[in-house]
Assembly symmetry: C2
Homo-oligomer: 326 residues x 2
């Protein structure tokens, strides 16, 4: 399988690392050879039709000399390469339009997409899915929500015979970590600074703390699990920038988390907001940096899955998993 890689941030580098270290293993175990024929970062696209040496890609990237590794091509030329899959690990843009155009162009060029980029999916779900359907191509996006914790593939391959009645999940580390700091007594600015110092919050953190990031994840989950095409307008969401109840919350002895919540009854509920959890509840096992979900189903009872620690390696593992099953 020939692959074009876009994005060499933490996740992109970890993906190349996993592919490089497990080349022999993936061939032995799955009979699958994954050749990376092009790599794009924000400045360069380098190409080798025989497959790039991934150790060298990482080394040249580290030295900020990616462009010197192999033949340079224009970004738009990746559509005409002989690749089977384009992997998008570029950072989210505000409007997701670049990603949407990338995916629909890829489908039209006969390529599948694996993506960890949630903006295009949250904002242009319908166009993207129609593009895939029309061109008989696939898009897998396990790593776009919930990092390394299986969610979409869990539903697609392990819970196929059930209807999802309710989903409740902790899928946003940043907002939950900042909330935990507020509850520990820090003021908002200090809580954000702590998160930034730990590499959990970005310089521009507002999309996380005002709840928009959680809402984006929630609409992707709702569309994937319920097979619909909801938009951000259908999601009710709260942030944590102006919490009025903080003193009550501190004194209550309960656990508070921002959760994505989808209820599939007569009326559909799609929301991302603060939930008060009793210490005995399943999701109360998770700490603020965990990722995890509870799914209530008709035939499979209530399934809970979580991962204690999430980071770029775990997310990258799901990008590679998508490449191995596509």
């Amino acid at each position: 399988m020939k692959v074009s890689i876009i994005g060499l941030g933490h996740i992109g580098k970890a993906v190349l690392g996993i592919l490089n270290e497990n080349k022999k293993l993936f061939m032995e175990r799955y009979g699958k050879s994954i050749e990376v024929i092009s790599v794009s970062d924000s400045k360069n696209t380098v190409y080798d039709k025989n497959g790039l040496d991934l150790e060298k890609v990482l080394m040249y990237k580290q030295r900020n000399q990616l462009g010197e590794l192999a033949e340079n091509i224009k970004f738009d030329e990746i559509y005409s390469l002989e690749s089977d899959v384009i992997v998008d690990m570029s950072p989210a843009t505000k409007d997701g339009i670049a990603g949407m155009k990338l995916y629909t162009s890829a489908f039209e060029s006969g390529k599948n997409i694996v993506t960890s980029n949630k903006a295009p999916l949250a904002l242009h779900w319908k166009e993207i899915m129609e593009g895939a359907y029309k061109n008989k191509k696939r898009i897998l996006f396990e790593s776009s929500v919930g990092g390394g914790t299986p969610l979409f593939n869990l539903n697609s391959y392990c819970l196929k015979s059930s209807n999802i009645l309710e989903f409740k999940g902790q899928v946003s580390s940043t907002i939950n970590f900042v909330l935990s700091q507020l509850l520990a007594g820090l003021d908002f600015n200090d809580a954000v600074k702590t998160a930034q110092n730990m590499g959990i919050a970005e310089t521009d953190y507002h999309d996380d703390t005002n709840g928009l990031d959680g809402a984006r994840k929630t609409v992707i989950i709702a569309n994937a699990l319920l097979n619909k095409d909801y938009t951000l307008n259908d999601v009710k969401y709260d942030g944590i920038e102006n919490l009025k109840d903080i003193n009550y919350m501190k004194e209550s002895g309960k656990i508070y988390r921002v959760l994505s919540h989808i209820k599939n009854e007569n009326e559909i509920t799609i929301e991302s907001k603060i939930f008060e959890l009793d210490r005995k509840e399943t999701l109360a096992c998770l700490d603020s940096l965990s990722m995890g979900y509870l799914e209530k189903t008709d035939n499979n009872d209530d399934i809970t899955i979580f991962e204690k620690h999430d980071g770029p390696l775990e997310t990258a593992a799901q990008v590679v998993n998508d490449l191995l099953i596509i």
Copy 2:
């Protein structure tokens, strides 16, 4: 897809129920039509090349008149029917030989197997897998261990890019329920009787309480996760029939569970025994009737998955899931 069903106990009946209720849904969602062309219970095999009416199968079975529903054929004739998959939900036999012969004959007749029957897998893994490989057929067995909680498909479709370093799982309800009763103060006979009255333990309960059942599950997990062909001789296992430490355990304030444990380091550990859990540990969230696992991996961190309540419906949901992905 045409299917032959073997076994009409609790799980078999629940499978027919799910297939019957979701016929339209499976077609809409997956474009898949599952036609049951033969059904065998311990006495009869009935056949209709156009597909049996599943509601009628359940009704005739209920009245103990299955043989009157449709054409009767001999059990061995199922190999020559035009089915794609044979589903084995017959009860476990001591030696698993009947199941092993069933599967290898099915593969030779060009049929795939879906099974919830763990005896053949635990006792004849190598022959069965070689038979499947030689005839290019598949065997899926998600429901053979852990009831409705995804395990084998979770590894096959969601954790493909990781190596499993350690597995620790609560996969046996009977032994864990009886143990919980012993710890609550009942003597062994009363604990077993309580389990029998609740439908959790069988009349012949020894394979559960002496640990053999847990060992069987453990060897299947080890073989599937590590891609090996271990036998029961490679499993160290304990039962709960002669617990010496019961008074210490009662007074300790800790949680005790019989767990399957596999460690994949320089030396391989495969065991099924009592573990002492601290109340903060992940698996301590589960009660004695839950099913759940913790998997430590190299790239996917530690993944925990569990189901609070397990029963025939949840197990049946995994049989149907296997049918939908085969």
